[in-house]
Every structure is written in C-alpha cells, then in structure tokens.
C-alpha cells in the first residue's frame, strides 16, 4: 500500500507535467520562486521547412503564440488556459508536453524531464505541410466558404489543408462567441464538412465502368434521361439549362462514349451508366473507395484526428432512381474534401492510396490499392482530356500538365457547390488537390482557379519536382 501511494506520488511529483490541469493550476496559483510549471517549455509546431506555426509566449509560457494565426487555425488548433485544446495541439498533446513514450527519443526526453523537470521540455512537432503553400491557399479562399486539401500522392503527405472562414487562435473569446449565420469559423470543413460530390464522383463511376470493360456509346438527348421507377423527373445536362436561360435551342450530345461524357461531364450519360452498372457494382466500388469509413488524418500521442466518414447510402436492387442520382454524385451521397483529395491522389499514384500523413515522424503507409494501374492510367487520360478539351480548360496552363475534374453539386438550398479535383504534373504526379467552394456555382468558375493558382505556386516553390 505504501508502495502504491509512493508510486502515485510520483505521478504528481515527477510526471506532473503530464497533467495539463495541474500545470495550469501551478502556472496560475503557485507563487513559489521555483515554479517548474512556468518554466516548462511545450514543444513547438513547425512546418516542413522549420517555419514556426505554434510557439510559447516568451514572457508567459501559459500562452501560445501562433505566428501565422488564421492560416493554420483548423489544422494546428489552439492551446488556451481557458478554452483548452483543439486540433493538433490536442491530438499530440503528450508529445508536445514531453510525456509520450512511443519512440526511443521520446522516452529519452521523458526520462530527462523526470530527472530535471525544472526545465522540462516537450518535443517539436514537425508537419509535412508547407506554410507558404498553406498561406497561398488560405488567401485564395479568403472571403469564401470552402475547403482545400493538397497532398503528395507518392506518400500521402499533406502539404496544405485549409478551411474557410477561419478564426484567430489568438482571440478565441471573440471567435467562440460569434454567432454569424452558417459561417461557423471553428468548423473544419476539410475534414468534417459533408458535401454532395457532384460530377467529381464521376471519376469513381468511370473506374467502375472501365473495370467492367464498358466501351459503348450512349444516347444523350437534350430532354434528358428518365430512370425507370417512381421518380419520373428527367436528369438533364446543365448545358440544356444554360441554353434554355438564353432562349436558345440545344440539340443534346447525341451518341457519345465515356471519354466525351467524362470531359463534358454529361449527367445524362452517367446516370444511364449508373443504372446499367447497377446497385451491386456501385455499392462495391463505393465500399472499396472507403465510403462510410472514418479516414484517419493523424494518430497523435493523445488523440486521433479523423475525418467524418463520407456517406454512401447503400443502394437497393430495384432503386434505379437512386442509382442514377448517386452515379452523378447527387442524391443522398455526401463526401468530405479530404476524401475527394485522397481519391484523386490514388488515381495519380496509379491506384495506390497512401494514408494521409501530417507529421513528418509518421512513416508513409500504403492504405489500400484502390484500382488497377491500367484503369488508373485510363482515368488519368480522361482527366487530362477534360483539362485539354472538356469542362476544365481553365486549368490548361502553360508549363504544367494538370489533369482534373470539375464538379457542380446541387446544394439543398442556394447556389451549387463548386468542386475541382486535380493532380499535376500528368506524368509524374507530385501534388493532388481538392477544392470545394460552398455555393460557388460552376466547378470551373470558383474552385478551378483556386486549384490552378495553388499548383502554379507549388511549382514556384519547387514542390512539383518528384
């Protein structure tokens, strides 16, 4: 019993730095001249080039300083004596506070902290993110609502992850007390925002079709396609509505193949394709593409950061209406921006999906092989064709061969959500990007320029050399 009490005493006396509430109490209320809690240095958070993202206030180490403020608010989170922990500050608290024991280095630090805890130090957390690119992304999304995820397909390293609007982690009380309608600056849209994927989901349906050896032409008339079943509303291409608004007639696409349909993003084609593929095939590919599963972004020393599972309502056998709707990324289908970025990265990496990786100390890990390299190759060609001749010609810039897919997703209310997913360069993909702009209208209009600009900057920073 005495030994138990003595060991328990050690948990306060020697490893008290592992008790955040206790440390906060000591920092605030212990007036001893020797106050290790005040001298204790929490580890910094740095980007891949050593840029400081979170540091201790030199005058009062109870306070954290975030030199880049809003740019990293969702990813890095905050550590506040009043409001506690969030983001990476929360997920990797043990590592940053110096009491995690996952590796030999960490054990060394932990032991040193016990031996001489007056200068107890945490470990520095180094991220795979590039602060320059993150800042560009944050600037591009300023005054918009949306999210951007950029990662390296070859190992899953996240280079930028932005959600907009942002808040200032240094002024939490105002951020937390704001009640602006729907802006929700504290909400991380990149991980937790669920949106209909719209036409970006046609990538997945095209994979399914190619795997089935589909190479037929389908008739895509202007009056659209009415799937069999109760729901008799025709699915039409958006060119029809566009011409109608102008008062012009539109003949429709006529008989087209997968490449034309993909490049033109024909809803009429893909809804027919969805019905043809049927519920079993679509359910299977959705499951393989990690729908309805939580995606782990970061397994920290304290908690895990996961994205919300994307929602694929499992299709019933006779429900052709839902097959048609979900094949064009509508209906009750919802995805997170991170998930779309990962799918794009897997295509770019010839079917290999690497687990997202945010800390440099996390080794790259192959999460799954989503599709066969030959299929991936064909999809890459389709995406490049879309940029060269299809809906994404805005991304056809000089010098960098980008391959991408636009998405215009009907929102439950207001303007459509604007999507663009892409990777570059075509031959040796070094970056995969997913951009979502809430109520941004056409994918080509709002999301595409953001992604294109980001990739241009990435090239300037030398991030496209693999």
């Amino acid at each position: 019993m005495f030994v138990a009490v003595y060991l328990y005493q050690a948990s306060w006396q020697l490893t008290g730095f592992a008790r955040p509430a206790f440390m906060d109490f000591m920092r605030t209320y212990s007036r001893r001249p020797i106050n290790p809690a005040r001298e204790m240095a929490r580890g910094r958070i740095l980007d891949r080039n050593g840029v400081e993202l979170a540091v201790n206030d030199p005058s009062d180490n109870r306070l954290r300083r975030y030199p880049l403020g809003r740019v990293f608010c969702h990813l890095v989170g905050y550590r506040d004596p009043l409001f506690g922990l969030d983001g990476l500050e929360a997920a990797d608290n043990a590592f940053l506070s110096g009491y995690s024991v996952a590796t030999a280095d960490e054990v060394g630090r932990f032991s040193l902290n016990i031996l001489n805890h007056r200068t107890a130090e945490g470990n520095d957390l180094i991220l795979t993110v590039d602060a320059r690119l993150q800042k560009i992304a944050a600037d591009l999304l300023k005054n918009k609502r949306g999210a951007l995820v950029a990662l390296q397909p070859e190992d899953g390293s996240i280079v930028a992850l932005v959600s907009s609007p942002a808040y200032n982690p240094q002024e939490l009380d105002t951020a937390l007390s704001q009640s602006d309608k729907g802006a929700s600056p504290l909400f991380n849209r990149a991980l937790h925002g669920l949106y209909p994927p719209g036409s970006t989901f046609k990538i997945v349906v095209a994979v399914c079709a190619l795997e089935q050896g589909f190479h037929e032409l389908l008739d895509c008339p202007a009056q659209g396609y009415i799937p069999p079943g109760l729901y008799r509303q025709p699915i039409r291409d958006h060119e029809y509505y566009e011409r109608q608004r102008k008062g012009e007639p539109w003949p429709g696409w006529g008989r087209i193949g997968l490449d034309q349909a993909f490049a033109r993003s024909s809803n009429v084609f893909f809804s027919q394709l969805g019905v043809r593929l049927g519920s079993t095939k679509l359910n299977a590919i959705a499951e393989r593409f990690l729908f309805n599963k939580p995606l782990v972004l970061f397994e920290g020393s304290s908690t895990t950061i996961s994205a919300k599972p994307s929602q694929w309502p499992v299709l019933q056998e006779q429900d052709s209406g839902s097959c048609a709707q979900q094949a064009i990324g509508q209906g009750a289908l919802l995805v997170t921006p991170l998930h779309m970025a990962l799918i794009t990265a897997a295509i770019a990496q010839n079917g290999e999906l690497f687990a997202p990786r945010i800390a440099v100390r996390t080794p790259p890990r192959l999460l799954a092989r989503l599709l066969h390299p030959s299929i991936a190759h064909q999809i890459k060609r389709l995406m490049r064709y879309t940029v060269e001749h299809g809906t994404a010609t805005g991304a056809n810039i000089k010098g960098i061969p980008i391959a991408g897919k636009t998405g215009t997703a009907q929102a439950s209310e207001g303007e459509d959500h604007s999507w663009f997913v892409c990777f570059a360069p075509l031959e040796k993909p070094a970056i995969a990007v997913a951009v979502l702009i809430e109520h941004g209208g056409y994918g080509a209009a709002a999301a595409l320029p953001v992604a294109t600009e980001l990739i241009k900057k990435a090239q300037e920073f030398g991030l496209l050399e693999r």
């Binding site: 005495f2 009490v5 003595y6 005493q9 006396q13 209320y29 290790p36 016990i114």
Partner: protein, 446 residues
C-alpha cells in the same frame, strides 16, 4: 560484581544497532540543521540558543540510551534507532518550519520531544518483563475511559480548524487510539472464541460478547462523528478489522471490513456535507481549485517543484501550503528533499512497521501479540492516511504524520505507543528469572 559488569557490557553490545543508528541519524540531522540555520539566519549574529533543539535532541537520546543500558533493557534494539531518526527528522522539520521556537517562553512544543521520550522511558520501565499483562484486565475500563474522554471533549471542547480541542489547544483525543487498542486486545483475547464464525462469514450475532462490542464500539465512533473526526474513525476501524483478523485468523473479517468501509464511505458522503466536500476535493480537485482543493493542490505543486531531488533544505516555500507544519509536513519534505527524500523517510517508516510486526509475531502471549499488532497498525495506518492524503492518493482525513508533524499531544501519544511496543518486545528472560517465577508464569498462562 564482575558478573554484573560483564552483563552490562553484554547489554551495551546488544544495544549497539540502536546506538549506531542514532549516531548516524544525529549526524544527518545535524548537517540538515546547520543547512537550515544558515538559510534562515545567515551567519551573523550568531545566537547559541538556536542550537538548543539539537542539543535537547542529542542529550535526550543519550539519556534514553544510557538509561536503557543501565536498566539492562533487552527489548528490540533496532526499533528505537529508527524512532530516533524519525524524531530527529521531526525536530529538523519543525525547526525548519519555525514552529520550534527556542527563544520564546510561551511555546510548549519544544518540550514535546523530551516529554515524549520521558513518557516512553517510564512506560518501558513500568511495563517491561511481561508486566504489561496488568493491562489485560483493564481492557473494559479503557473503553469507558475512552467514552468519558470523548464526552469531556464534546462538552468542553473548542472548535479549531474543524477539530475539537480542550482549552489550551490540547487534543486528548489522540489518547483514544492507545486506550481502544488496549481495550480491543484485552477484549478479543478474552472472547476470541465468540468471534470465530461457526458458519458463513459473520460471527454469531447472538453472542453477548459480539453484541457488546458492536454496541460499545458504536458509542465512541458516534462521538467522534459528532466531532467530525473522520480520520480517527477510519483509523480506529482499520485497527478493529486488523485485530479481529489477528485474533481469529479469519480472512472473512478483512473482506467484511472492506465492504463495510465502502458502505461507510458512501454513508459519510451522502450524510455529511463535510465528508462530501472532502470527497469531491479528492475526486476532482480542479473543480474548486481555489477553494476546497487549494490546500491539496498547493501541496502537490510544492512536491512538483521539488521534483526528484528537491529544492534543498530551507529553500522551499511551505508558506504557500495551509497548515504545512502539521498535516502537510510531508509535502514540505517532498518539496525540499524531493521524491528521493520522501523515499528515505518512507523506508524508515517501513522498517519501523516491519520491525513492529515482527516483534508482535514473536510475543508468546496472545494479549501481548494483539496489543503490539494494534499499536503498530495504528502507527502504520496513521502514516498511510497522512501520506496518502497529502499525495491525493486518498481523501484528506486530517491525521498527523507520526513523529514528524507538529503537535504535542500527537507526539506524546506516539511515544506512549512506542514505549508500550518496546516494553512488549522484551522477552521474559528465562535465564534471569528463577524457576519459581517461571512456574508461576506458566500457571498464569494457563
């Protein structure tokens, strides 16, 4: 004459461990004392009186040792050495805390140690050589003395820091521990058979002895509850359970004890606001960090500041912990001597308890065995409750740390108990006693 001298030399050698332990302890304490002194006063101006506690310590220990040798005391030679160290540590701690005032005349606490040692000597000489057996028939009187004492405190006591004290800040409630241990030992030895369960885990409740114990145990407990002395209740019940177990060798008593302790905890939590507050401060100290949990959190902060090696004697800031010199002295040790220093103090306590239980196991007489077990259990529980409370391993009970905490009556009672234990440790020596005496004793045993 020569025989007498050789006997004296034999005793002198026999008590060598005590002497050596004392010498080493004295040196350690003296070094610590000088460190504190330099910290406190600087080097000038030097007042020789500041050394008086150390001098009193030294002379008291020498006198005790010489007296025991001269009286050819053959009781345990290790126990007292450990007690010397802990008592010296207590002096050091109290001197460091400034409660050992050597210049003022109002403060009686500096006489506590010599008085305690004198009391211990008297008890040893009075009850040695098996004479402790005269306490056995007094067992029930001890119970009534306890009730009378607690009643007196209840009627005339004044409340101070949540506990009742008689005028002059004397807390005779400490004596209750000794009285009740004597009562339990005597009573359980007499009625041991009644407490051995015939079937199942519980003893026959129809037995008069069992009913007597149940009823008359509740009276002092109730009085203590009215005085809000929860710590004492926990302590005494732990002793009760251990003694029931020792007397009957039924493990069921330990189980029953644990269950009833749990029930009691819940009852205290539900029924008394006082208990509830302490319980909450224990479970979730950060809920009311600046209020009810202030003391415990400051104590933990002090210990964290001390870390592994401590900030050094006299360099800590015990003034930030309320009642640091008494209940929370362990936190001060933790701050100034670190985790390692706490470990050393704990080792001395553990040696004391193991030695104590060994003494108990070697006593032939059941009464002596139970009495010794009870005394050691009291000390051990007290230490555990105090250290557990200060380190937040257990809820706070307001129990002092034996030998080290500030408080005259606590120290006197502790020495009274140690004196009894030492008296018990002396075997009735067959060589020294005549044949006739032996037969007489054997008859008494039967």
């Amino acid at each position: 004459m020569a025989k007498k001298r050789s006997r004296l030399i034999e005793i002198w050698r026999y008590r060598q461990p005590e002497r050596l332990l004392f010498l080493w302890s004295f040196m350690a304490i003296a070094v610590g004392y000088v460190l504190v002194l330099v910290r406190k006063t600087g080097v000038t101006p030097f007042d020789w009186r500041v050394l008086s506690p150390l001098a009193v310590y030294l002379s008291a220990m020498v006198i005790v040792h010489i007296t025991l040798v001269l009286f050819k005391f053959r009781g345990d030679p290790m126990l007292l050495g450990v007690v010397f160290f802990l008592a010296g540590f207590g002096i050091l701690a109290q001197f460091r805390m400034g409660t050992m005032d050597f210049t003022g005349s109002e403060n009686y606490s500096r006489f506590a140690l010599p008085a305690g040692l004198a009391l211990m000597l008297v008890v040893i000489l009075l009850f040695r050589k098996g004479r402790y057996l005269i306490l056995e028939p007094l067992a029930v009187s001890c119970l009534f003395a306890t009730i009378a004492l607690l009643g007196a405190i209840f009627v005339w006591g004044e409340r101070y820091r949540g506990a009742l004290f008689l005028p002059g800040n004397i807390n005779p409630a400490d004596l209750v521990k000794i009285f009740l241990v004597i009562f339990l030992a005597g009573f359980l030895v007499r009625w041991r058979r009644e407490f051995e369960p015939t079937s199942g885990v519980l003893p026959r409740l129809s037995s008069a002895a069992v009913i007597f114990l149940l009823v008359f145990w509740c009276i002092p407990m109730l009085l203590l509850l009215l005085q809000r002395d929860l710590g004492m209740i926990v302590l005494l019940n732990a002793v009760l359970i251990v003694l029931l177990f020792t007397a009957t060798h039924r493990i069921a008593y330990l189980a029953v004890g644990l269950v009833s302790a749990g029930v009691l905890c819940v009852a205290v939590y539900v029924l008394t606001a006082h208990g509830q507050a302490r319980f909450m401060a224990w479970l979730d100290p950060f809920a009311d960090a600046t209020g009810k949990s202030w003391q415990i959190l400051q104590a933990l902060s002090a210990m964290y500041s001390g870390g592994l090696w401590g900030v050094g004697l006299g360099s800590g800031s015990p003034q930030h912990i309320p009642i640091a010199s008494s209940d929370f002295i362990y936190a001060v040790i933790g701050e100034e001597l670190g985790f390692v220093g706490c470990g050393i103090v704990l080792i001395f306590y553990l040696v004391l308890f193991f030695r104590g239980f060994r003494i108990a196991a070697q006593i032939g007489k059941p009464f002596g065995r139970l009495l010794a077990t009870g005394l050691v259990t009291t000390l051990a529980c007290q230490t555990l409750l105090n250290i557990g409370g200060v380190t937040k391993a257990l809820p706070l009970t307001g129990i002092t740390l034996p030998f080290i905490s500030h408080g005259g009556s606590s120290l006197l009672t502790t020495f009274l108990g140690v004196g009894l234990l030492l008296a018990l440790s002396e075997k009735e020596r067959q060589q020294s006693s005549s044949n006739k005496e032996q037969i007489k004793r054997a008859k008494a045993d039967i």
